[in-house]
C-alpha cells in the first residue's frame, strides 16, 4: 500500500521534473524491459560474487568467534584486528586486490566478504556471551564443562544474534561486490552503473539502482523470514561489541600496542609468506620510507594531508547530519505513533538497500560537489541510525512507564526522562558502526565523481600505478576510521555509564 503511494508520487515527480533527472517508474520499467538480457547477465555476476562473499565472510566471522570462544584471552586481539580490517577502505582495497589477485572475480568476492564479516562477528561475539551466569552454574552443577555450555546454552543463545548478523550481511555482500565492480572489474551491475553514469543515462541508472536494491531487499527479507522461523526470540538491537580492552590505563595502552604490533606483523608476514612483489605489495617499512625519508616525502605528506582535510570537511557534517536526522525522525515519530507505523516498514526496507551502490545516482541528482557527497554520507548513516533509535525508544521498561503514567507524567516528560535515555545506547551503537560506513560513502563518491579528497587520490594513484600513494591512502583511511571509532566508543562508554549502567557490563 505504502509502496503504491510512493510509486505514484515518484511518477508524478518525474512528470513534473520533465523526466531529466528523475526517471519515472514507467520509464524505468520500459528501459528494464528493453534491456532484460544485459541486466540479467550483470545481475547474475554480481549475485554470484555477493553470494561467495557472503559465504566466505560469514564463515570467517564464525571461525573468529570460535577462536575467541576457545581462547577467551584472544577476544580483545580478535576484536581489534577485526575492527582494523573492517576499517579498511573498500574502494582502495579493490585496486590493490586486483593487482595482487589478477583479473577475474576474486577482488569483488573478497570485498563482499570484507563488507559482511564484521557485522556478523560483533553480534555473534555478543550472543555467545549473552547468557546469564546462572545458566552456566546449572551446567556446572551437573559436572559438565565448556562443550556442554556451548551445546546447551551458548550456541542456542547466540542463534538469534547470528541470524540478525546474517540478515544484515545480505545487503552488505551486494554492496561489497558492487564497490569492487566500481573500481575496475569487467562485469556486473557495478560496471553497468559506471558506464551509465558516464553516459548520464538516467533511466538506465535508475533501473540498475532498482535492480541492485531488489537484489538486496529480497535476500534481506528472506533471511528475516527464515530467521523468525528458526528462532522466535529477537536479540536486542544494541550490537555493542564486547569491551575491547578493560582495566587500567596501562593495560589499555598495552592492549593497543599489542594490536598495532599484530597488525604490522600480520601485514608484513603475510606479504613475505605469499612472496608478493614489493613493487605493488607494499610493506610497512616501504610506507614509512615514502612518508618520512624518501626524497619527495615532504610532497607526499602535503598531498595526503590536503586530501584528508578535504575528505573530512565533507564527511563530518554529513555524518553528523545523518545521525541527527535519524535520531530526530525517530523521536518525532514516537510522538506521532500513527505516522510511525506507516514509516517503519519503509525505513526497514530502505535500510537494507546498500546506499553506496546508488552513489552515482545521488551524484547525478545532486551534483558533484559538497551537496552530493554530504547527502550520500548522511543517507548512509541515517537509515541504520533511524531503525536503531526507533527500537531504542521502545526499550523504556514497561513498569517504569507505568510508574510515570501513574504520576500523570505527560508525553514530553516521558520522552525526556525515559525514552530518550533509553534510546542513547542505540544511538551510540549506530554512531560507532556508522564510522566506517560514512568513510566508505565519502571515498566512493570522491572516487567516482567529485575529483577531490582521499577517494579521488586513491583513484588517481591506482590509475598511475603509484602504489606507495595507494597504500598510504589505505593506511590513512584505516587509521582515521579506527581513531574515530575509538573516540565514539569512548563517548559511548561515558554516556552508557550514566544512562544505562546495565549495558556496560555486557
Amino acid at each position: 500500500m505504502g509502496l503504491l503511494v510512493l510509486l505514484a508520487l515518484w511518477q508524478a515527480l518525474a512528470l513534473a521534473g520533465g523526466g531529466y533527472l528523475l526517471a519515472g517508474p514507467l520509464g524505468v520499467a520500459s528501459w528494464l524491459a528493453a534491456h532484460g538480457g544485459l541486466i540479467l547477465r550483470a545481475l547474475s555476476v554480481t549475485l554470484a560474487n555477493a553470494a561467495w562473499g557472503f559465504l566466505l565472510g560469514n564463515l570467517a566471522a564464525i571461525l573468529l568467534a570460535a577462536i575467541a570462544l576457545v581462547w577467551p584471552r584472544l577476544l580483545n586481539l580478535v576484536g581489534g584486528l577485526a575492527l582494523v580490517v573492517f576499517c579498511l577502505p573498500l574502494v582502495a582495497t579493490g585496486p590493490i586486490l586486483r593487482v595482487l589477485m589478477g583479473p577475474g572475480e576474486g577482488p569483488q568476492v573478497v570485498l563482499a566478504a570484507l563488507a559482511v564479516y564484521y557485522t556478523t562477528l560483533i553480534p555473534l561475539l555478543a550472543g555467545l556471551r549473552a547468557a546469564p551466569q546462572v545458566w552456566f552454574d546449572l551446567i556446572r552443577s551437573y559436572g559438565r564443562g565448556r562443550w556442554s555450555e556451548l551445546a546447551h546454552v551458548r550456541a542456542r543463545a547466540a542463534l538469534p544474534y547470528l541470524l540478525a548478523g546474517l540478515q544484515i550481511s545480505a545487503p552488505a555482500a551486494v554492496l561489497g561486490a558492487m564497490v569492487g565492480e566500481f573500481t575496475g572489474a569487467e562485469r556486473g551491475l557495478g560496471v553497468l552503473t559506471i558506464r551509465f553514469t558516464r553516459d548520464l543515462d538516467v533511466p538506465a541508472l535508475w533501473g540498475v539502482a532498482g535492480i541492485a536494491a531488489a537484489a538486496s531487499i529480497v535476500p534481506y527479507a528472506a533471511l528475516g523470514w527464515l530467521g523468525a522461523r528458526i528462532a522466535d526470540d529477537k536479540p536486542p538491537v544494541i550490537l555493542s561489541p564486547p569491551r575491547i580492552v578493560r582495566g587500567s590505563p596501562f593495560r589499555k595502552a598495552a592492549g593497543t600496542a599489542l594490536l598495532v604490533g599484530a597488525v604490522l606483523v600480520l601485514w608484513w608476514g603475510g606479504m613475505e609468506v605469499l612472496g608478493l612483489n614489493r613493487f605493488f605489495a607494499k610493506r610497512p617499512d616501504d610506507l614509512a620510507e615514502a612518508l618520512l625519508w624518501a626524497p619527495d616525502a615532504a610532497r607526499t605528506r602535503q598531498v595526503l594531508w590536503a586530501a584528508t582535510v578535504q575528505t573530512l570537511i565533507w564527511a563530518l557534517p554529513g555524518y553528523l547530519a545523518g545521525l541527527a536526522a535519524g535520531a530526530g525522525l525517530a523521536i518525532l515519530l514516537s510522538l506521532l505513533p500513527w505516522l510511525g507505523s506507516l514509516m517503519t516498514p519503509l525505513a526497514v526496507a530502505l535500510r537494507s538497500i546498500p546506499i553506496v551502490t546508488t552513489a552515482p545516482l545521488v551524484v547525478v541528482l545532486t551534483g558533484r560537489g559538497a551537496a552530493g557527497t554530504m547527502t550520500l554520507v548522511a543517507l548512509m548513516v541515517f537509515f541504520p541510525t533511524f531503525v536503531a533509535c526507533q527500537h531504542g525508544l521502545r526499550q523504556a521498561p514497561g513498569p517504569i512507564l507505568d510508574l510515570f503514567r501513574s504520576h500523570a507524567a505527560g508525553r514530553l516528560a516521558r520522552l525526556l526522562h525515559l525514552r530518550i535515555p533509553a534510546m542513547l545506547p542505540a544511538l551510540f551503537a549506530s554512531a560507532r558502526m556508522a564510522v566506517p560506513a560514512a568513510i566508505l560513502a565519502v571515498t566512493v563518491v570522491e572516487w567516482l565523481a567529485t575529483g577531490r579528497g582521499l577517494g579521488s587520490l586513491m583513484a588517481l594513484s591506482a590509475s598511475l600505478s603509484d602504489y606507495d600513494m595507494l597504500w598510504l591512502t589505505v593506511a590513512v583511511v584505516t587509521v582515521m576510521a579506527a581513531l574515530f571509532h575509538a573516540a565514539v566508543s569512548a563517548a559511548e562508554r561515558r554516556v552508557l555509564a550514566a544512562f544505562a549502567p546495565e549495558q556496560t557490563h555486557a
Binding site: 546469564p132 546462572v134 546449572l138 556446572r140 552443577s141 551437573y142 559436572g143 559438565r144 546447551h152 542456542r156
Partner: protein, 265 residues
Amino acid sequence: MAPDDHPPAAIVCAGLVKRFDNGMTAVDGIDLTLAGGRTTALLGPSGCGKSTLLRMIAGLEEPSIGGITIAGQPPAALCRQGSLSVAFQDPCLLPWLTLRQNIALGRKLARLPADPATVDRLIDLVGLGGFQQMRPAALSGGMRQRAAIARALATRPRVLLLDEPFGALDALTRRQLAQDLPPLWRHAGATTVLVTHSVDEAVMLADRIVVLSPRPARVLADIPVPLDWPRRPDLSEAPAFRRLVQTALAALVRGGERSQAVAAQ
C-alpha cells in the same frame, strides 16, 4: 520412586571460610556434618551467606579455607556422576525450551537415559500438568520455580540442594508442595540441604535446622527437629512445632542483636 543403589551420602564441611576477591567475607568458619538421607535447613537472614555456603557444597564456589566432602569425595566428583542437583534461587530455565524440555534437561546434563514417565509424573506432582509445552516466558514466577524443583528431582539425586525453593510461591502452593515434595526426596534417600529464611518452613521440611548468623555466616544454633514424618499441614498448630519455631527464632534474634552490638562498637 525406588531407593537408590547408593548408600546415603553424608556431607562434611570442615573449617569453611569464603572470602570473595573484593575482600568480603561471606562464610566464616563453618564445621558441619550432615547425615546422609536427612534434610537440613540452613536458616539465616538475607545476605548472610546461605547461598554462598550452598554453592560451595555444590562445587560451584571454591572455599577460601577448609574443605567439603560428600560421601568421602569432593563435590565435583558427585557433580560428574550426575548425582547432585541444585534448584537455584533463580529458577534458571532456558527460555527456548518448553517446560517439559527444561525438566528433561536435568537428566540430559547428568547423562542419564531419558525417562519420560518420571518427568511427566514430576510435572504433575509440582502441579504443572497441562503446561508441558509452554515456554518459561508464558509461566508465572511460581510456576517457573516449581519447574526448577522438578528438574532437580528428575535425576533422582543423592544430594539435593534447594536455594529458597519456595521463595516466589503463594501460601497455598507452598503448603501443597511442603506436603508433596519431602516424601519424594526422603524416599529416594537424598541428602537434602534447604536454604530458607522462613522459620516455619525450616521446621516443617527439615530434620535439623542450622541457624546462621548475619554475614559472615557462622553457626549460631543447631536444632534437631524430632517431628514424625509424614508431616501434615495442621502440624504447624501443634505445641511441639511452635516450640521449635520459638527456639529457632530466638537463636536468629540473638544473632541479630549480637551482630548489631558488634557493629556498634
